[in-house]
């Protein structure tokens, strides 16, 4: 009986855990004072996109070990693929979008 309960609970737990990392997801971690440095996530509209603000989701920032703001992370099925962080000027690298697109391209290519 315990095994059956475990068999039911574990998948449900797994299904609800960390949805923002599901499939191909692009997450921008930022704060109100770095909003000017954020990039637009519109080019990634075909995938799951999230904008997280430190004032609202501090626990996620801590869990994901975000040290620089803003930071953009590409996830694939729960796994971190690439992390693009801002520098001391609080701005993301110019090639941030291209870098992420290049990695997305590789992920999609691996499906064919």
């Amino acid at each position: 009986m315990k095994l059956w309960i475990l068999l039911l609970i574990l998948p449900l737990y797994t299904l609800h855990g960390q949805n923002f990392k599901a499939d191909i997801s692009i997450v921008q971690f930022s704060a109100p004072f770095t909003s000017d440095a954020e990039i637009s996530l519109k080019p990634f509209n075909d995938f799951h996109i999230y904008n997280f603000c430190i004032t609202e989701k501090a626990d996620i920032f801590k869990k994901e070990k975000i040290k620089f703001l803003p930071t953009v992370i590409l996830y694939n099925n729960g796994k971190e693929i690439i992390r693009v962080e801002s520098d001391i000027t609080l701005s993301l690298p110019e090639d941030c979008k291209d870098t992420i697109l290049k990695h997305i391209d590789k992920l999609i290519e691996s499906k064919f």
Partner: protein
């Protein structure tokens, strides 16, 4: 100035065209694979050899006979084909081989939702020799999936089982969350087979005004050039009367009516049915379709469940409806009963792929698909428990 403007316009136009073709190429061919492939395998070999004896041509019935190997031997089987494919695998699907050869079976071909959005396709054509016979097969599949739509066209043919199928569907899609989607639309499907209609049964059961058989069973032999001959045999002082049968070349094929009925006649019945069925055009039916997909994937746990349901509101738009599946119950041994209404039916399809790696060394895997279209049921399933010893 005018020349300069023309030149500028031409450069802009070419650049725009260049971008257009670049985008077109990206949409149509990026990630696609062109392939030519084939294989050669041993043909089927009879498990037991089949021998018979032939009377020695230089002797009589009681001389040493000639032993002849009557086993069917076939040349090797082979298959060759070519194609182009751009069909994404779901994350839980692994590539069987390092290359594509057209024999791949992807969940993406039957699940309503695809692994990626956009255009996907498979165009595959092949010829194969199986047990000495040549067949042609094809698989043409094209689908466009967007956030709110699914458009799919498909045509399949498998020569060795005389299977042909075409379908076209369009659906509106509603994603609910990231893992669940619901779709509703219409689908056109074709089928070759007439249901409920058995021509030979009707032909044999036809009666004249006196209630006698209008087509006695043995007259089918006459239709195909066979003939029966009356003969008498003296056996142990008795005179026996019998009919023996010859084929259109005059060769004896059966020594009695009973032998003819149990051998040649059976083949003629099937031939008669095939010929009558072949006279009918293919059927095309339009149906509503409701589908759902649930997919969750993580490296150690994945579930993909999908289902399609075709409710009983089917409308035949091609072929003679009297012979269609809708009127399958209208056929009796004495023919078609127009007084009977067509009977609607439900078709459905479902699939499940489940994998759970409980630890680095233990994994449970379940895969299965069930399809019920008309009176055809197709199912396959597999289950596996893997324990890796270290």
């Amino acid at each position: 100035m005018k020349q300069l403007l023309t030149l500028l316009f031409m450069i802009m136009s070419l650049t725009a065209q260049g971008q257009f073709f670049k985008d077109l190429y990206k949409e149509l061919f990026k990630y696609s694979t062109l392939y030519v492939a084939g294989d050669i395998t041993n043909s089927y070999e009879e498990p037991v050899k089949d021998y018979f004896v032939r009377t020695n041509p230089d002797g009589g019935l009681y001389d040493i006979p000639e032993v002849v190997d009557g086993t069917d031997y076939h040349e090797f089987d082979y298959r060759y084909g070519f194609g182009i494919r751009k069909l994404a695998r779901f994350d839980y699907e692994i590539k069987d081989k390092h290359y594509y050869d057209g024999s791949e079976k992807n969940t993406g071909l039957s699940a309503p939702t695809s692994a990626v959005k956009g255009l996907e396709y498979v165009f595959h054509f092949e010829r194969e020799r199986e047990r000495g016979e040549m067949f042609e097969n094809h698989k043409y599949f094209i689908r466009h999936t967007g956030k709110y739509h699914i458009v799919k066209l498909e045509s399949r043919a498998k020569g060795n089982v005389d299977f042909k199928y075409k379908s076209a569907e369009i659906r509106g899609r509603l994603p609910i969350g990231k893992k669940f989607s619901f779709s509703v639309g219409a689908i056109y499907r074709s089928h070759q087979k007439p249901y409920g209609y058995n021509p030979i049964e009707i032909w044999l059961n036809e009666t004249d005004e006196n209630g006698n058989a209008a087509n006695p069973w043995y007259t089918l032999g006459f239709e195909y050039g066979y003939d029966d001959h009356y003969t008498t045999i003296q056996y142990q002082g008795q005179t026996l009367h019998e009919w023996y049968w010859t084929d259109p070349d005059g060769e004896i094929v059966a020594h009695t009516d009973l032998e003819f009925r149990e051998t040649v006649f059976t083949d003629l019945m099937n031939q008669y049915n095939q010929e009558r069925w072949a006279e009918l055009d293919a059927f095309g039916v339009l149906s509503p379709i409701i589908g759902m997909d649930f997919i969750h994937y993580k490296n150690n746990f994945w579930v993909h469940f999908y289902a399609n349901y075709l409710p009983p509101y089917h409308k035949y738009i091609q072929g003679d409806e009297a012979y269609s599946y809708l009127h399958r119950d209208c056929w009796k041994i004495d023919g078609y009963d127009p007084a009977k209404d067509g009977q609607q039916w439900e078709d459905y399809q479902g699939g499940l792929v489940f994998g759970w790696k409980l630890s680095k060394s233990i994994g449970i895997f379940v895969e299965g698909e069930y399809t019920k279209f008309w009176d055809s049921e197709i199912y396959n399933s597999s289950v596996g428990l893997n324990i890796t010893l270290k």
